[in-house]
Amino acid sequence: MTKTRNAARASGVIATVSIAALLVSGCTRDSSSGGPGADDSASSPGITDDSISIGISSPLSGPTAGPGSCTIAGLDSYIEAKNAAGGFEFGDGKTRQVDFTYLDDVYDPAKAVSNFRQLINDGIFAYVGALGTPTNAAVMPIAEEEEVPQVLLTTGARTFSSDQDAHPWTTGFVPTYATEGRAFGELLAKEGKPVTVATLAQNDDFGQSYLDGFNEAIEGSQVEVVADATYEPTDTTLDAQVTELASSKADVLLSAVSVTPLQVGVLTKAQSLGWLPRIFLPSNTSTPGTILQPGGAAAYPAVYTPSFSKNPNSPAFANDEDVKAYNDAFQKYGSKIATTYTPHCAWSYAEGAVLDEAFQGMEEPTRESFMDSMKSISGFQAPLLLDGITVDTTTKDDAAISTVQLVQYDGQAGFKPVAG
């Protein structure tokens, strides 16, 4: 008796709650993937006659927070300054304000996917400039499936640019690691005399693509690799590797080490052994203040690093118009997001200009039209890029910036063009 009454009560509760749940959330869901703003069939989600929304997910906390924040701060500076000046002009003759949404993924692929889905849900038009190889690799298939542009990524991995026919919605922005390695090889090969090289690289595909680029460039030249060593990112010291390489007495050390304290250790250890080769460092571990000065890099005959952007803090560019514009905009907008400078701040500012360029070529308010325009930029001199470096998005197998210039450490806080 009691039992049946209780059962009836329980099933009544279930029924009521489930009906309520259905009513509250609406019986059907929007079957289009666009989310809000998808009502106009002609235009893609996230774009109206006077606005367009773009989004990004980068690490804003955790170990990669510095570069991650800068990939947002520079872009934000460009966008907000342009918005304040009236907005972006589009190829369809309209002027739009850009809504910029950014989220933190802590360099975690699962969170990046979550953020990307959230941004799509919020109705962004395109996903621009995100930092990180694993995070972007996780997002790429979803971008393809949902046909959302995932462009101008801040990662040196080849995957995002090397096969654009296979991944039509994705493009990379900064030079790949192979490009950097190739630039080193070319410089040595061009010297036209016998040179011996020792290489030190991270024991993974990053290190490998560095070496691949380098080896391609020195093929058939008089440059010879006489010693090589690898390390794990978790190693606490590279003294053993450096000692082994030093015994080769090579003329040149290619130190493709991407961990800041380890790179400092390499520079101090080699000179303590009395080995003073010319040194090549990757762009992400060649900052004077944190690596070259603590490592005593001035002791070496020459320290090279690839570069493609101007350092806005360098006195050499103090009177450059682009640098002034950047500094004003960054002061006003970006400094709220990134507190310390890394080159990514300058890169993402330049990326804002590339985005602007793509908007100008966009004749329809659709993602397809945006991608067409995005992939037809060539010879574009974006602000803050070094003279001679231009943006070319028309190649099907490389990032938007596919050349670098080598610069040489000036022994203090900056770089100078490579002598000779």
């Binding site: 749940a21 019986c27 869901r29 849900n121 794990e232």
Partner: protein, 362 residues
């Protein structure tokens, strides 16, 4: 016997309140079941992804709770088993193995690895055991980078799979939701039965007092190995689920930070509690999202503040919230809450218990 009438009355009243609470429990489970089934049909793909993520990490935290919450052994390596499971799933799917077989391997292989580690480590106590588990993700990340034929190296592996069969009429996100939620529900039901049964009691006794465990014929060593093995198994299964919804795995999947966050989520949800485990997973997934909506540049700070707030206000975790509220309500109603029967021997017991249980002198 003089006590008979009252004790019969008491038995009757407990059985009546027992039956209402049982019916309330059944109603709760029923509502939950309906909500779990209906939710993906009416939610956006984004919401379904979040709900699926909660299911994935709930299973990882469930494993952690079995070894830490229920058995009292510190494990800082759960992310390694999550990552191992994800890599096995990726390898299996990319090589065309059937899904159920892949799932089975995602459970068995991490369980065996976990058991081997535990066989060596469970003889150690406290910090030494913690250090060994700590080493797992730290060793695992470079291994995952190095064996790139198997793992895809630093760039990881995209695995596009688990598309909704045409016949179901479901979207992919809905289908994947059902798959991971089904696995999670099965894992939770099995774990609940486990911890409520004989094995669960052996976990509790090992956690509380190994000497007593021995005197009851419970081997602390074997119990710890078992708990660790089950935790690894669930970690591996959560890796399978991770691949199901993220469709991607890389060395980042098993980084140490994930282990720490899982431990924090377990404590926040409620140590040694099944419901607390689910709440911990909700916390793990949703707090960063909510923090991002408050201020994307301050997610770490906001998440940390929430963590501290919960720990201060609810030291026993989110699961203790109803109890806590009830206590607050009763204490406002009655300024002097009826204290539990405090006798003089109780007071002495409280004072002497810690030393008495640990060192018996003659």
């Amino acid at each position: 016997m003089a006590t008979t009438p009252t004790s019969t009355a008491r038995a009757a009243s407990t059985s009546r309140s027992g039956s209402t609470s049982r019916w309330r429990g059944i109603a709760f489970v029923g509502v939950l079941a309906v909500a779990l089934v209906v939710a993906p049909l009416v939610s956006s793909p984004y919401v379904n992804y979040q709900l699926s993520s909660i299911a994935v990490f709930a299973v990882a935290i469930l494993g952690l709770n079995i070894v830490m919450g229920y058995t009292g052994q510190v494990s800082l390596g759960q992310s390694a088993f999550l990552g191992l499971g994800a890599y096995i799933a990726a390898y299996g799917i990319l090589h065309g193995w059937p899904g159920p077989l892949t799932l089975l391997l995602c459970a068995v292989v991490p369980a065996v690895v976990g058991m081997l580690v535990a066989l060596a480590a469970a003889r150690l106590r406290g910090l030494a055991l913690a250090m060994i588990t700590l080493a797992l993700p730290i060793v695992g990340v470079p291994l995952a980078r190095r064996f790139d034929d198997f793992t895809g190296g630093s760039q990881g592996q995209v695995v596009s799979w688990l598309r909704a069969p045409e016949s179901t009429g479901l979207a992919n996100d809905q289908w994947r939701y059902y798959v991971v939620v089904l696995i999670a529900v099965v894992a939770f039901v099995l774990a609940r039965n486990l911890v409520r049964g004989r094995i669960g009691r052996s976990f509790a006794i090992v956690k509380e007092n190994e000497a007593v465990a021995l005197s009851m014929g419970v081997s602390p060593y074997r119990t710890k190995v078992l708990a660790f093995t089950i935790a690894s198994l669930l970690g591996g299964v959560s890796g399978f689920m991770y691949l199901a919804i993220v469709q991607y795995t890389s060395p980042e999947t098993l980084v140490f930070a994930t282990s720490i966050n899982l431990v924090a989520a377990m404590v926040i949800g409620g140590s040694a509690s099944i419901i607390g485990t689910a709440l911990g997973a909700v916390y793990y997934v949703l707090v960063p999202v909510l923090a991002g909506q408050v201020n994307s540049s301050r997610t770490a700070l906001i998440s940390g503040a929430v963590l501290l707030a919960v720990l201060f206000l609810l030291p026993a975790g989110l699961v203790s919230l109803p109890r806590r509220l009830a206590r607050l309500r009763s204490s406002t109603r009655r300024p002097h809450p009826s204290a539990p029967p405090t006798t003089s021997d109780e007071a002495t017991h409280r004072a002497s218990a810690p030393s008495a249980t640990t060192d018996q002198h003659s």
